[in-house]
């Protein structure tokens, strides 16, 4: 049913529709409203679930790991420093191939301390072995949360649903919340092939000697790669059920003849869409919305970028000492094309800096600017005048 809801409230409802059995979380801005809303559903008796208030994110992650292995559908949510505090457990959850879903309300990382939105937190957990799906709006956050459980349980991999903190979590907008009947028909009850059972004891997470460690890592990598097909399939099934689709691994919008594309991730996609309408560029421009960040859709990306001459990657995080993170991965994927497009890489909107519609002409003009075009990466909205000369 269509409702006007705050993003966090809507995600809480989506989680409840998935009938989780164990939830553990620790509050952190801008994620707090999600678990607050869920705990209210539990307290009001609208959600039958064990809700555990823990003393840290490390415990939250550890608790849901145990719960999922013991046979419960589990959920947690966090942001920023909270995600970093979970880091060790996140690798364990993924390495043990335990299905579960977490929402990451994307936020900058200290230091300097910033409570505001960028995507440094989930990007820094890029290699932990979780599937990472990014949402462009709150409808996607709701639908992706539900899809995430199906993906997780079919692939036996954990899924992180990334949504921009504040920009999505604190925005009230029109959101279609599916019915419990729809979700029940879509998502079967939780089943985990290696559920701990005292009648049939097994050991999980044991020490693996060099004879088998490489094989364990290889098979984990293969599992993530194979998950691409499941991410697409699950979205198709959602389309058949609700008439909505979230764009599988990635989506391409805009005129077929365009030679220029802007690729981005998360809620800035909407701002770019509006900018293309409000400030029509001189040349046709495509928009590529990257939804699956892990697994990274190398093949889908090559298909999406075939025939393009310029690809501008706009991202919300930095790898200091290197530059862009997504940008470099796009560059690597496209280098396999016979005529690879030039890849231009920019970061913007770090630590909550507003990204206005004028970002569009700014990105496009960078193509014709020899200085920026020759540089691999820059923070496009940096105000250098604020910095001492030696830091510019």
């Amino acid at each position: 049913m269509l409702q006007a809801l705050e993003g966090s409230q809507a995600v809480a409802q989506a989680v409840a529709l998935c009938r989780p059995q164990v939830i553990a979380a620790y509050p952190i801005t801008p994620q707090t409203h999600i678990v607050e809303n869920i705990s209210k559903l539990v307290a009001d008796g609208k959600l039958q679930c064990e809700f555990v208030s823990v003393e840290s994110e490390f415990s939250a992650a550890s608790l849901v790991l145990g719960a999922a292995i013991a046979g419960s559908r589990a959920y947690t949510a966090t942001s920023s420093q909270g995600l970093l505090l979970m880091a060790e457990v996140l690798f364990n959850i993924a390495g043990l191939r335990v299905p579960m879903v977490m929402t990451c309300a994307n936020r900058a990382i200290s230091s300097p301390l910033s409570i505001w939105n960028d995507q440094q937190d989930s990007m820094s957990m890029r290699d932990c072995g979780w599937i990472q799906l990014h949402c462009a709006d709150n409808q996607e956050a709701v639908d992706t949360t539900i899809q995430a459980y199906l993906i997780a349980e079919r692939t036996e991999l954990p899924v992180m649903v990334c949504m921009d903190g504040f920009t999505l979590t604190h925005t009230l907008e029109t959101i279609d919340i599916p019915t419990s009947k729809q979700v029940d028909s879509y998502l079967p009850p939780y089943q985990f092939s290696r559920t701990l059972d005292p009648r049939n004891p097994i050991t999980l997470g044991t020490c693996v000697a060099p004879e088998f460690y490489s094989e364990a890592r290889h098979s984990q990598h293969q599992a993530l790669l194979k998950a691409q097909a499941e991410i697409v399939a699950v979205d198709q099934e959602w389309l058949a059920l609700t008439g909505r689709q979230m764009g599988g691994l990635l989506t391409v919008e805009g005129p077929a003849e365009a030679k220029v594309a802007i690729l981005s991730i998360g809620s800035v996609i909407g701002t770019l869409r509006a900018a293309l309408e409000e400030i029509p560029p001189p040349q046709p421009v495509k928009l590529i919305k990257l939804r699956a960040y892990r697994p990274f859709p190398m093949d889908a990306l090559k298909v999406a970028c075939e025939g393009l001459e310029e690809v501008i990657v706009l991202e919300r995080a930095i790898s200091p000492g290197l530059g862009g993170i997504v940008g470099l991965e796009v560059l690597a994927a496209l280098s396999e094309l016979p005529n690879p497009p030039r890849v231009h890489n920019f970061a913007a909107g770090l630590g909550g800096r507003d990204i206005p519609l004028t970002i569009l002409p700014r990105l496009l003009s960078a193509l014709n600017n020899e200085e920026t075009a020759s540089r691999r990466f820059s923070v496009i909205d940096v105000e250098l005048a604020k910095l001492p000369m030696e830091d510019r």
Partner: protein, 201 residues
């Protein structure tokens, strides 16, 4: 699309006000988007919230830089640099103040309507919360959304005595201003421009 910016102080229900407008838009079958700009989250600190209303889904998520309307919950904020920045040429300001509209309009050289929203709220609610009174005045002045829709969304948000008193408050607040004064603001401003043109020729 209509863009609105709300300025207030932490604790004055700025985000709630923004959400209520967007919820009322939804009640009337339109699209609403509302979000805060959190600064330091302290009671009393200047804060902003943004609202967009449109007839189709709203794509952009940037801050409202060029609002058609400002709703200002504390008159003192009008003295802070930046608060009126970007207001459209024919943009209008609704402010909670005990001063008259004429005085503040003259100070700012902009079209301002002032209502003593906090005072009214203190009388009716027992607390000087200006937000719902200002919304009632705003809905009535602009005719953008109806007072019935405001009452409806208040019913979603509040209950019991708080709801009853707020419903009473919005009725009283709406009587403080001339309903529809800011309606069809575009045609009004065109008339004004024509009048100016006529005098200069």
């Amino acid at each position: 699309m209509i863009e609105i910016r709300i300025h207030g102080r932490g604790g004055q229900g700025n985000v709630v006000a923004a959400y209520l407008i967007a919820m009322a838009a939804f009640e009337e079958g339109r699209y609403g988007q509302a979000f805060p700009n959190f600064g330091a989250e302290r009671r009393g600190a200047p804060v902003m919230a943004f609202v967009r209303i449109a007839d189709k889904p709203i794509q952009q998520r940037n801050q409202v830089l060029a609002p058609a309307f400002l709703i200002v919950q504390d008159q003192a904020l009008l003295q802070i640099p930046g608060v009126t920045d970007g207001l459209l040429a024919n943009g209008k300001i609704l402010v909670n103040s005990n001063l008259t509209s004429a005085v503040i309009s003259a100070q700012l050289r902009k079209e301002v309507i002032a209502i003593p929203a906090a005072n009214l709220a203190k009388q009716v609610l027992g607390r000087p919360m200006p937000n719902t009174a200002l919304l009632a005045a705003f809905f009535s002045l602009t005719g953008l959304l109806s007072l019935e829709s405001l009452a409806k969304v208040l019913k979603h948000r509040f209950k019991d005595a708080v709801l009853e008193k707020n419903l009473q408050l919005i009725e009283q607040a709406a009587q403080q201003i001339q309903a529809g004064l800011w309606q069809r603001s575009n045609s009004n401003s065109t008339n004004q421009e024509e009048a100016v043109h006529a005098t200069s020729t």
